[in-house]
């Protein structure tokens, strides 16, 4: 079961994960990561921009790579775009597998690639001013772990 989506409105991860888990009967383990807009340092809002012709297709390619690399039964990958408020979920990745390490590593793999290589541009608003977020060095280091 494969469910890859961009969402423009706030979502409740539990409403995605319940059906996803149910759609993969016989699974041994399911690992889920949910990223939220951190409420810190006076961040008032976050905005994620996509470029329609490549962002969702890029997520599908990433899912293909995850299925090729790990022994998965299902993969859910949902990413918000547009403006978000602190506490709102940005991203939800869930992997169902027979064995736990495939599920956990697939989530780790997808998250590193969503952070460091997927076609999103992020800016945040502090004290009324929007500022673009540059990728952190860590994001590249994390990504380098998966080099074939």
């Amino acid at each position: 079961m494969r469910d890859i989506r961009l969402l423009t409105e706030v979502f409740i991860p539990g409403t995605l994960i319940g059906p996803f888990s149910g759609a993969n009967p016989g699974l041994g383990g399911i690992c889920t990561f949910i990223g939220e807009v951190r409420a810190e340092d006076g961040v008032e809002a976050l905005e994620l921009t996509q470029y329609e012709p490549i962002t969702l297709p890029g997520m599908h390619e990433l899912a293909d790579r995850a299925f090729a690399r790990f022994d998965l039964m299902g993969l859910l990958m949902v990413h918000r775009v547009g403006q978000m408020l602190p506490g709102e979920p940005i991203v939800c990745v869930s992997a169902a597998a027979s064995h736990r390490r495939d599920a956990i590593e697939a989530v780790d793999f997808c998250m590193d690639h969503l952070k460091g290589r997927a076609w999103f541009w992020k800016r945040e608003k502090r004290a009324g001013e929007w500022r673009w977020i540059e990728p952190r060095d860590e994001d590249y280091t994390d990504l380098a772990r998966w080099k074939d």
Partner: protein, 80 residues
């Protein structure tokens, strides 16, 4: 029909616009000249990509856009 150029993320701030149109055809040198010095400098960085007609170019210097194409200038990503 013209070529549409989109400035994504911080490149829009640098360009002072989200998009513009230009008469085709357009190659890499034409793009650099058209984009102006600030954006052109960014475009020459390895981590800035260019998409044409919905595909990210493996070699952006091989750009060869014709009227009707959409070119997107893609700065370093920061998702998740």
């Amino acid at each position: 029909m013209t070529i549409r150029i989109l400035f994504l993320g911080p490149l829009a701030d640098l360009a002072g616009q989200l998009e513009c149109e230009v008469e085709g055809p357009l190659d890499w040198d034409g793009l650099l000249a058209f984009a102006g010095p600030a954006v052109a400098e960014q475009l020459q960085l390895e981590r800035v990509n260019v998409a044409c007609a919905g595909k990210v170019l493996a070699d952006k210097t091989a750009l060869s856009a014709v009227d009707g194409d959409e070119i997107a200038l893609l700065p370093p990503v920061s998702g998740g």
